[in-house]
């Protein structure tokens, strides 16, 4: 499994042709206490850069963008009742959606962990 990062602080972990996507712990820390996550419908197709989810903290709403093209195959329903999971475990239980990749080569354009750490340093 490979994990890649975007400049907008999404992470994407790929297993076969299914990718799991969320926001980074750094992003969650910057947003503060997450109080609501608006997720898309399963089956929706996304193009890289599309706004597909919204994270609401106490103060503000922030958009989350698709790191790659693909189709939503699952959403993390548990966030509806427990949005704080995004703060507690951003890269684990706080995942947002699963996407079936249309073009795996798009991953090559994203940052690896070292590059992302440098980006947020």
């Amino acid at each position: 499994m490979t994990t890649r990062y975007t400049e907008d602080h999404e992470w994407i972990t790929v297993d076969g042709d299914i990718a799991t996507v969320g926001i980074t712990a750094y992003a969650a820390g910057q947003l503060g206490d997450v109080v609501f996550v608006e997720l898309p419908e399963v089956g929706k197709t996304l193009s890289k850069g599309d706004e597909f989810a919204v994270v609401e903290s106490v103060k503000a709403a922030s958009e989350v963008y698709a790191p790659v093209d693909g189709e939503i195959t699952a959403i993390n329903d548990a966030l509806e009742g427990e949005p704080a999971t995004v703060n507690e475990d951003a890269t684990g239980a706080g995942w947002f959606v699963k996407i079936k990749l249309s073009d795996a080569s798009q991953l090559d354009g994203l940052m690896d962990e070292a590059a992302y750490n440098a980006h947020t340093a």
Partner: protein
Amino acid sequence: MTDTLLKTPLHALHVELGGKMVPFAGYDMPVQYPLGIMGEHNQTREKAGLFDVSHMGQARYEGDEAALEALITADLSTLNSGEQKYTLLLNEKGGIRDDLMVSRPWGEHLFLVVNAATKDNDFAHIEAATAGKGKLVRLDDRALLALQGPAAKDVMARLCPAACEMIFMQCGTFELGGAEVYISRSGYTGEDGFEISIPADKADAIARLILAEDEVEAIGLGARDSLRLEAGLCLYGHDMDENRTPVEASLIWALARTRRDRGDFPGAAVIAQQIEDKTCQKRVGLKLTGAPAREGAEIADKDGNIIGTVTSGGFGPTVSGPVAMGYIDRDFLEPGTEVDVLVRGKARPATITKLPFVPANFYRG
């Protein structure tokens, strides 16, 4: 960019405390500290929080009080020494130029506290309108702190016991930390608490003195906003502005009965007509389910007709859910009325709710 922003006398302290600094009304201000907005909100509701509100405008007014009274909605003849009133500065159409506190902490003269973003305009307007009759003296050399929360009185009992003898909306001059301070028992959170005007050069030392008390944490503008929203208090420039009258803003209570009878405030005819007609939109509270509604979100009836607009909204940590305020058509004012708020195009159910969302915890003696 930060070098064009103004700094309050507590700026270095905010940075030292790890405040996340953001531009607000021309000042570089802490939106939150490491405790976070939710933690700071709960701290203030449960214990005590210290807010730097030095960006707000402080001034003394001396001279002909009728000249000042003509611009606002209070009856200054009933404002006794040691008392404070909430009042509104109106334009000729009855629109709200600002909301402010007017008080007599010194026995004579008046003490004014106005909003940060409007202070230059307010003071220029008051000076122009009272020229030759009164004198407005800006107190830019003073900081303003707010100590808020149920434990605020316990802290004050140790630092300035005499101030604890005041009840809600009383004020006076006291000594605190070796400085002469003006304290009022009031605030912007719905909690008991004090607002403390301090000479700028003593502000840092006094803030540290207060923060050294066990019950107190520093609180940023983020929690200040969620606290005031739950308390149903208006944020100027959002929940009211020059295009909204006290009738629309549901602030008729700030219009002194005597002034209303005399009709001698700016825009009196417009306001009297609105009171009689009962047709204008009014400000209400809304409780939502799911996503918080932010400023600008449209309010619709259950048939999808647009009936109003959200003017401020967010998540209420004490309510434990999203809350908002907005202006809505007359037919929908009744608490309990079910409406929808359109959040990013999605209709979210909302219920018109009596303000405040959280019961006020003022000390009334």
